[in-house]
């Protein structure tokens, strides 16, 4: 499995470099930079640098600009990771290489993790660049403990991978990528607390927020950077992330296996 993982990561890296030498990276960073600018304009010109007491209560007196920029940067990281891993099988269909892939006895998990590894390395760089933009724009990240940040980063990869597998199964079963991924990303941006705390959402919507592991991951990320908490201080978030991720993984692989069989019947039949 490990060899398939590394080979797939290397293959994807070469393909991405030849297909989009810079444009993909720049495109994503620009999107992140725009989000930073929107947050900045909202905060400076609309809110006049003020947030109400509810926001302070929900976020433990966090600075809104830092709150929004962390959300936007981490959201960009999440969609880049989820999108490319979940689409990887569909890309094989478009490129006409799915049959050769299925012909080999290679590990599907290794293949998916290989796609994740290549994608995470690029998405992490994009995350760092967007955070740098945010810092230039005036956001301050008071607690940058590398151990805690790396811990959240590792946990987030597990959570995002589980979401990717479920989305991959959905894409294969519907033979669609655009509607599936864009619907999910819009829902995530609304439900997961990317630019505002989820407590602002109607009470009946909030359980939906907690059905997506990204919500808890983002919350943990902010708690580590904005409040200086350690990962260990939030077992409730860790349990939420792991329980949901394991459930998503189990569902995703079960569904992916079924979708794959049905998909092959459709394309070969």
């Amino acid at each position: 499995m490990f060899r398939v993982l590394l080979a797939t990561a290397k293959r994807n890296f070469i393909v991405s470099r030849r297909a989009y030498p810079w444009s993909l990276f720049v495109g994503r960073v620009i999107t992140g930079a725009y989000t930073v600018l929107i947050s900045l304009f909202l905060y400076v010109y609309l809110f006049q640098g003020q947030t109400n007491t509810l926001f302070d209560t929900y976020t433990d007196n966090a600075d809104y600009l830092a709150f929004a920029i962390l959300g936007a940067a981490f959201f960009t990281f999440a969609i880049a990771s989820i999108m490319n891993v979940s689409r990887t099988m569909m890309v094989e269909v478009w490129e006409g290489t799915l049959e050769t892939l299925l012909l080999s006895p290679s590990s599907r998990l290794g293949y998916m993790l290989g796609s994740l590894l290549e994608q995470i390395s690029r998405a992490t760089l994009e995350l760092a660049v967007i955070l740098l933009f945010g810092w230039i724009a005036g956001a301050r990240f008071p607690y940058l403990d590398p151990v805690q940040i790396l811990s959240v980063w590792g946990i987030s990869i597990f959570a995002l991978f589980s979401m990717s597998i479920t989305l991959a199964a959905l894409m294969l079963s519907t033979r669609d990528t655009y509607i599936s991924q864009n619907t999910l990303f819009i829902l995530m941006s609304l439900l997961c607390g990317v630019t505002f705390p989820i407590q602002y959402l109607p009470a009946w919507v909030q359980p939906l927020s907690h059905a997506v592991p990204f919500t808890a991951v983002l919350d943990l990320f902010r708690k580590v950077i904005l409040q200086g908490h350690t990962v260990g201080q939030h077992p409730e978030l860790l349990i939420e992330i792991f329980a949901l991720s394991v459930a998503y993984l189990a569902l995703g692989f079960w569904w992916l296996h079924r979708s794959e069989r049905k998909f092959l019947q459709k394309i070969f039949g």
Binding site: R3, V4, L6, A7, T8, K10, R11, I14, V15, R18, A19, E95, G96, T97, E99, T100, L101, L102, L103, S104, P105, S106, R261, L264, Q265, F268, G269
Partner: protein
């Protein structure tokens, strides 16, 4: 050895009739009671018209598609229950330009596929070099495949199919679109793989010369079912194609024509006598070659034979006839 017993594949096809109307479900039988045998060291042809079920059969035997019913084993491994195990032993080469990564070079493609098959790294390096030489891509091994011609892409497909040194190789129209020299070289390599390296090969092709040149045994399938099986020459005999003899003479007196007709009647052959450009043509079609008897009859009648043509039965015609009958 590969052995399949009563392998069946039925596709369920949904046809949408409109946005609000329910789709109709149709069952399409792609393979039916297929019982095949492919032994190491043998080349077996799987022939049939388009849509006969050849590619579906290959996909089932390669472990990509699960059969609807029936079983198959590869070296005593149950292919239905253990598709991953059998995938280590087989590979498929298809005609066309797909099934390779166009953004990668030939070498990168082969490295990737080698990794998917867990070929040991040192062995893989040596094998890639050998395969690249075999398919004549040594000068362009480090150029992205998207810059290749159609023939070059197909040659890379061949190298890809051999990357795991498969014990059984399924060739689905492997020489389609290849230039004559490479196709000839590939045929020689296929023969060598079977005869010298004891590999079992299943070949589908529309080039009958390939079948005649390579196959030890042929399965003729139609509508997913095996209709005839045997060695190529056995199929020709089975189709009772017969041999045609065409003789040209300056003139054919009535007595000589009568002798020829009597000869044809004796051997249950048909005879046609007609005018040719500078004389008369005699066409005799029988189960066996009657040219010697005809020549003797004509020379006994004092006639000089100007031209003699013997039309041997062709496998292509035999297959066509058997398919129509089947």
């Amino acid at each position: 050895m590969i052995q399949s017993d009563n392998l069946c594949k039925v596709y369920t096809v949904k046809e949408k009739k409109g946005f609000f109307r329910p789709a109709s479900v149709k069952k399409v039988v792609a393979a039916q009671d297929l019982s095949l045998r492919i032994e190491p060291g043998h080349i077996v042809g799987l022939l049939g018209v388009n849509g006969a079920g050849k590619t579906t059969t290959i996909r089932m035997l390669a472990g990509i598609l699960a059969p609807t019913s029936g079983t198959f084993t590869i070296d005593d491994i149950d292919g239905v229950r253990h598709p991953k195990e059998i995938k280590k032993k087989v590979n498929v080469i298809t005609g066309g330009e797909r099934n390779i990564y166009w953004r990668l070079t030939a070498r990168e493609n082969l490295e990737y596929f080698g990794a998917l098959y867990s070929v040991p790294k040192a062995e893989l390096k040596e094998r890639i070099g050998r395969l690249i030489d075999l398919v004549g891509l040594a000068d362009s091994a480090d150029i992205p495949v998207e810059k290749y011609s159609k023939g070059m892409k197909q040659r890379l497909q061949i190298a890809r199919g051999l990357i795991n040194d498969p014990k059984y190789l399924f060739l689905d129209e492997p020489t389609l679109g290849l230039d004559i020299a490479i196709a000839k070289e590939l045929r020689a390599y296929i023969r060598d793989l079977a005869r010298e390296h004891d590999r079992g090969i299943l070949l589908t092709t529309h080039y009958i010369t390939e079948v005649e040149e390579l196959c030890d045994r042929v399965y003729l399938i139609n509508k997913g079912r095996v209709i005839k099986t045997g060695a190529p020459h056995e199929l020709i005999q089975l189709a009772q194609m017969g041999v045609g003899v065409c003789i040209h003479v300056d003139a054919l007196p009535d007595a000589a024509a009568g002798n020829i007709k009597a000869l044809a009647a004796r051997y249950d052959a048909s005879v046609e006598i007609g005018r040719a450009e500078h004389g008369v043509s005699i066409l005799i079609h029988g189960a066996e070659n009657l040219s010697t008897y005809c020549m003797k009859s004509l020379t006994d009648d004092g006639l000089l034979v100007k031209k003699l043509e013997i039309t041997e039965p062709k496998l292509e015609d035999a297959l066509m006839k058997l398919t129509m009958e089947g």
